[in-house]
Amino acid sequence: MSEQLVDLSRLQFAATALYHFLFVPLTLGMVWLLVIMESVYVMTGKVVWKDMTRFWGKLFGINFALGVTTGITLEFQFGTNWAYYSHYVGDIFGAPLAIEGLMAFFLESTFIGLFFFGWDRLSRQRHLMVTVLMAIGTNLSALWILIANGWMQNPLGAEFSYETMRMEMTDFWAVVFNPDAQAKFVHTVSAGYVTGAMFVLSISAFYLLRGRNTEFAKRSFRVASAFGLASALSVIVLGDESGYMVGAAQQTKMAALEAMWETEPAPAGLKLIAGIDEKAQKNTWAVEVPWVMGLIGTRSVSQTIPGILEIKEKNRERILNGIPAVTALERLRKDRHDAQALAVFERHKADLGFGLLLKTYTQDVSAATPEMIQKAVDSTVPRVLPMFWGFRVMVGLGFLMLLLFALTTWATLKGDCMHRRWLLKWAMWMLPAPWIAAELGWFVAEYGRQPWTIYGVLPTHLSVSALSVQSLYGSLAGFVGFYTLLLVVEVYLMVKFARQGPGSLGTGRYDLEVGHGPAAHA
């Protein structure tokens, strides 16, 4: 596989996945806000809560449409652009994807239709049930896709078969209850809840600042504050959980995002900021809080966290041990009954994935030069600079949002959020924060796994389809063109309806009504 083909395939996947992830978190979070608002409507019968559900639901729908559109791309893309990956791990990876369709997509997609069109055809309770089922569906889809993703980070419950030349599932429940997957799930959905809360909070703050639809906006602001506070707390606490898990399965990622070159004596300190010299493999300076990293990473004061240099040396051994695994496998593929090759393979197969890393540099891994091996060793840790800062910006934004939600909750409890214009302004301008944090989180998780698609098992370099570079340029251009157009349209509609507010429902009860009042609806 040419380097260029691999890079273009990665670029296309990253672009389309990051783009898709602009819409997913908002869906995950807003759907519960709709459930809360509609529940209040069903319990109190106050029509403003129904209007809130319908207006925020309208914005939810505009966002959801693009989530659906761009989600199909990702399912296609494993096959179109990552054919060898699909073959090599489809036996495990395909299952959660298919179950996601069966268990989650059908549920959310069937009931979203009734959510929008069933208001006059269903009793209040029935309609609320529809909304709840839609919410469960969206959240279950996050569960199954993160089970699939968790397996890429920590491939449990599977082993390699030389006869079928792929990974095969040995324990379905180990895949489902993979601790990495579970930690990712709670962290990701909580981040989605924060996104939903921030969206409602910001736009409500905008109405309050303009003095429009005050009763509608105050209620929305209150719900979003409380929900956002709970979610921001959970995202940070469970993000820590996610860090702990990373510590168990993927020390590489932790070392990179903490810029830990050397293994430090336990318990290691947490670097707040640092000057990183990637070439010399050291930090020129750092501001550190003692002990904290060791506590987060190992839940103990005595265990050490391995640094990058130590990890690389371990990986060197595994790469060297992987070379005979690869050569024996190649002989076995030519002759399945080669008993001697099988014996060699069995002895070294634990490091097969590491041996395959050398395929990036040479077809015949037994002829790998020391320079190639060094390159392979260096490639086993992702670049530290983007990891370190990407992670810090994400965490920083997380704390900033937590602070904001705490203040807005406090203000709504005192009942005077209207008079704190600085707080409203701050809430309004924080709108992009959850998206930046979510995209960075995705980046840290996926870039941090490089050079692997399946950690320790399958190098990214080998995962791509045998396509021409021209095809990749063509499809990438097509995606960029399409997605830019769609984004322009989506943002235009979103801004239009958000500015107009609940008046767009045409109920006759709000500011900036357009078209017909209720009379026209008779």
Partner: protein, 382 residues
């Protein structure tokens, strides 16, 4: 636990069920998209047509997504080989599908006629293009596809996009498009009234006739037109229970191989009979105003048409024209015993639930969609 060969056959049936489910459910809203420019002369009329599927298109589309996921999980080699080999065809399907969610949801949010006309054409593309391409893909599967495997089982496709567009494949594309258009027309006739309904009936009847003619023509072409089928030979040494290794068998080509199953099991002739009979019956019923019965007949025609092709190729899924031994079959391109078992039970549990709540959703939204209804719900309707 079910034994491995049984699961392999069950998964062939399940993929068939998902494919047929996709064609029946997503098919009728794609058919509505295909007919949209022709049944709706005014904006209100087009909105009526769109709103017959408004609450349902999203759920229906999941048949497609789940079908893709199920093929990934149960037939990973087919998923890998077909999706990467048919790269541009798959992207064309994908990009055509882009127009649907946004078309449905965004179209009526703005009053401008130009905006709405643009999305109407988008909905047409999203309804028309995918069935044509799926038909063309099937037409190519029946002729064999130029791909091979490396020793490490990397699928390599050596054909071109334009090579897919050969005359036989295009004929199958016409058959597929006619089938979906008929189905959409019948559905529209059931959910609308007046002028829109009359146009939908004419569209459905015309499409049914094209379907019957094209389907029979494709059958005759396949029998006497020089297209060779594929067969595992010698079959006696082949073990269906064996580990899935697509390089472990020998495959030959012969002129009547695609007809061998029909010779062995004459019962299978019921499938093509159902295809032709169902389509003709659907045309008759929809003309007579029996629209629900027509929808059932049209659905049976879909079962017949897709079943005919599947039964002819069994056990092949994706034969290779350049390395016949590497052809993908239901025996050797499948997942492990464990995965097939897990996925079988997952499907067996969830499929009835899905059918139940989808049925409920259609029941809630039943009845005719009218221009008056659209005008009264100007802000809420699509």
């Amino acid at each position: 636990m079910l034994d491995y060969p049984t699961l392999k056959i069950l998964w062939w049936l399940l993929v068939g069920v998902l494919l047929v489910g996709f064609a029946i459910m997503d098919g009728h809203d794609m058919g509505v998209g295909t007919l949209l420019p022709f049944v709706g002369k005014t904006d209100d009329e087009r909105r009526v047509a769109i709103n017959t599927v408004g609450p349902h298109w999203d759920g229906n589309q999941v048949w497609f997504i789940t079908g893709g996921g199920a093929i990934f999980a149960a037939w990973p080699l087919v998923y890998a080989t077909a999706f990467s080999g048919f790269y541009w065809a798959m992207l064309a399907v994908l990009w055509a599908l882009f127009f649907r969610p946004v078309g449905f949801d965004y179209r009526s949010k703005i009053q401008s006629p130009a905006w709405r006309r643009t999305w109407d054409w988008g909905l047409f593309i999203g309804g028309f293009v995918p069935p044509v391409i799926f038909g063309v893909a099937f037409g190519n599967l029946l002729q064999g596809v130029p791909f091979h495997f490396t020793d490490m089982l990397m699928p390599v496709y050596t054909g071109s996009f334009w090579g897919l567009l050969n005359p036989f494949a295009l004929l199958v594309g016409v058959v597929s498009s006619a089938m979906i258009t008929m189905h959409g027309g019948v559905y529209l006739a059931h959910r609308t009234e007046g002028a829109i309904q009359q146009r939908a009936i004419r569209g459905a009847v015309g499409a049914a006739l094209v379907l019957v003619l094209g389907f029979v023509a494709a059958g005759l072409w396949l029998r006497w037109g020089g297209i060779e089928g594929y067969v595992i030979s010698p079959a006696s040494t082949f073990d269906p229970a064996g580990l899935p290794d697509p390089l472990a068998k020998a495959v030959t080509r012969s002129a009547d191989a695609w007809w061998a199953n029909y010779g062995r099991q004459p019962m299978i002739w019921l499938l093509p009979a159902l295809g032709v009979g169902g389509a003709l019956l659907a045309a008759l019923l929809v003309r007579g105003g029996r629209t629900l019965a027509a929808f059932v007949a049209s659905s049976l025609a879909i079962v017949g048409v897709i079943g005919t092709a599947g039964a002819a190729m069994f056990p092949f899924v994706m034969p290779s024209s350049t390395m016949p031994n590497a052809s993908l079959t239901i025996w050797d391109s499948v997942s492990s015993h464990l995965t097939l078992g897990v996925m079988f039970w997952a499907t067996a549990i969830f499929m009835p639930l899905i059918i139940f709540y989808t049925g409920w959703a259609y029941r809630v939204m039943r009845g005719k969609v009218t221009v008056e209804h659209i005008r009264a719900n100007d802000h809420a309707a699509y």
